[in-house]
Symmetry: none
Subunit: 237 residues, 4 copies
DNA sequence: CATGAATGAGGTTTCATTCAT
DNA sequence: AATGAATGAAACCTCATTCAT
């Protein structure tokens, strides 16, 4: 039985496509889009230069494929990370951990994506937007379910919290890349989660006010305690 | 006396250099670095192509100049915005407003900067880092003075708050660019300021809303409880 | 009995070869030699690309086959047209009609032939010459038989009349292609036939004008001769 | 005085353009359009490859320039040839001599022109048509003036005579190229002129009538001679 | 006989940079 | 200091041809 290579047709083509994409990713990451020559990609993928053009129309198309592939992996990874948890903020923490590490690992790929729409091609700009929207849907879902469960304030603003979450995380990732001495992943995670939590618990526009309202509660409690103590005091006499 | 043009030598050269830089900025913004030809820059700056090379060694050097110029303007603008205020959080708000608008106006320029170190040139990476550090110093200063004045918790982490601040702001700027229907600049500012405030009021590692919001209140409440208990204790005598 | 497909081997191969040739003809006509990709020919002929090379050594060989095929058809068609007539000039008219239409229908094919020897390949140049010679033999035959029958002057120059015939006809065809409003096929035929006839009736080197322009001279000479003869006559008496 | 090179700017550019065109012409003639590499043209014109593209947008544009240049030279040459003569048919003869030699000398250039519209580019097809129309205008002028002077029958068809003229001449040129042993330029010229004359003297549709009139004359003349001789003979008795 | 994926040489074109004027 | 024509390296891509299946 020659069951060793069951997939003789379709599979081999896919393998070659994958090889090209990962070769291209490596080179794009290392030398940027403009700095990478198609010939190099071909050589690294162990294909002839012309063969590339059987799989991709363009150098640009290769870049698109790399980016698409990256987003797909990101999305799958994030989904898996989140699915491992049941509680809203456990999910958030898992997503935070995943995203931070993923962004640090492939920062340049996010930049490649950015490059796609930096050239003014309308269609590609739309694609990039869609990829990100699709990825971000995981957070959005988490957020909305949190609202349903009562973990997240009903009037919290998804837009703002989302920007807070991804913005802080990605900026931190960049900072950590530039300063390799910063390695406190857990601290960062804790901080971000706490910050997001804080934003989730209050209405989007005035996050502080809730706590202050809480402080009012505290004050009334204190008043009641004082009253109770005063009461206690008068009884003792 | 030929006082009509007092600065006939040095000044005219500077004017030409400036013309080149702003022509280059406009084109880089519009069509990206790779999409902009040196010839175009020259034409737009009303200089001959060869003349460019009397002022700049390279196309790359032009890009560097554009980026440097941009950071300088940013820094000056931010400093002015902050200097108009005296209170820590008023300064913060002013800086927020300024940065958000500046980033939206020239998003691509930030990307150009990113591009400088995306190609793996060590020296340029360092430059970009220095520019940003210099710009960010304004925030750092604000933060540290806030700590001195007691507006910011002594144990708040500058790194984390800074990442929170710039990260959220820049991500929001990007989001707003992609979704022109979002125009609530004030809401965003308010949200970011509140969020930063919240992070400033607590130690970096324990940003949780609960501790924080209450911290001052709690202290006073604690004081009252202590007083009440002391009172109670005195009764025991 | 498997008499359903009597020609199962040889015939099927020929069919495929024919399919390739006619696919190639169509494409060459439409887009020129350089503009036609081998892959297109294959697809149009419903054969795999590699299969082409079982039948033809080259793209160039395909072109040769197309041209050869075209000349063959032309020759057969012309022969049939001529055979339908018995008189010399009826044959000529039939040939004229046929050639004019054939050339208009497949003008580009003649050009393809030209292209074969425009590239400086000696062998192909010779082929093209032979094809044409073979085709033109029909005219030559008509001409020579006309001489035998006395329809054509014995001293008429075959070369010149042949050039006159095909040259005028083909140039007219081109003109008619460029000016679709010219549709007077019959007029053209009549003109060409008349012109050829005129050239046939006189010696090649001394075409009609001499006799013709001379007709006046001849008349005066005749007059003088008559006068002389009359003179002679009167003297003799 | 450095009057040695009075034209330092414009002229030198024109010289370079001319150099490119003639280099291109030589190569196109020798190896065809597809067979000629742009690099070769550049080398032969003693320019850098990139320089070509300062003068011509395309390889195709070079071809167009070559063809345009050729038609221009042809037209100028033909005009000069014709202007040397005053009589209609002397002009015709001069034009015949010129065209025959010009076509033989640069046959392939005519074919290049053909190639321009063989690819289906509408605009180029139009250009080629215009060039030829402009060139042919010389013949048309000659023809029409001949009609005015009474040298050419008023009802002669310009279209047909023109096709006869150029068609026969160009076909003959081709034949002569393929058969170098044919060198009887004068005979060809004589024949073509005579043929055109014959077509000019009669209405387009019935070119034979003149000769027939001639042949009638001849016949009647012969009759008179025969009668006179018979007369003479009878005297001998 | 048939296939069609793979090849890779070679073509055209661009554009940052130089240098004679 | 200023010019802009000239350069030429190198990039992307095409497509006729081959060959393992």
């Amino acid at each position: 039985m020659n069951a060793t290579r069951p997939q003789t047709r379709r599979e081999r083509l896919d393998a070659k496509e994958t090889a090209v994409i990962s070769a291209a990713r490596a080179l794009f990451l290392e030398k940027g889009e403009a700095g990478t020559r198609v010939a190099e990609i071909a050589k690294r993928a162990c294909v002839a230069e012309g063969t590339l053009y059987l799989y991709f129309k363009n150098k640009r198309a290769i870049l698109q494929a790399v980016v698409a592939d990256h987003w797909e992996q990101l999305t799958v990874g994030a989904r898996e990370a989140v699915e491992g948890q049941t509680e809203t903020f456990d999910k958030l923490e898992a997503l935070t951990t995943f995203h931070l590490r993923a962004v640090i690992a492939d920062w340049s790929l996010l930049m490649l994506g950015t490059r796609l729409w930096a050239t003014g091609a309308e269609a590609e700009e739309q694609m990039e937007r869609d990829y990100r929207r699709n990825y971000v849907a995981i957070f959005d879902d988490l957020f909305r379910r949190g609202q349903d469960r009562g973990d997240v304030a009903a009037d919290a603003s998804l837009w703002q919290v989302r920007d807070l979450f991804y913005g802080t995380l990605e900026y931190t990732a960049r900072t950590m890349m530039l300063h390799p001495e910063r390695t406190d992943y857990d601290g960062v995670t804790e901080f971000v989660v706490a910050q997001v939590k804080s934003a989730c618990l209050s209405g989007g526009q005035m996050p502080l006010y809730k706590e202050e309202s809480g402080s009012r509660d505290l004050r009334s409690i204190t008043g009641r305690l004082e009253a109770a103590l005063k009461d206690l005091k008068s009884l003792d006499v």
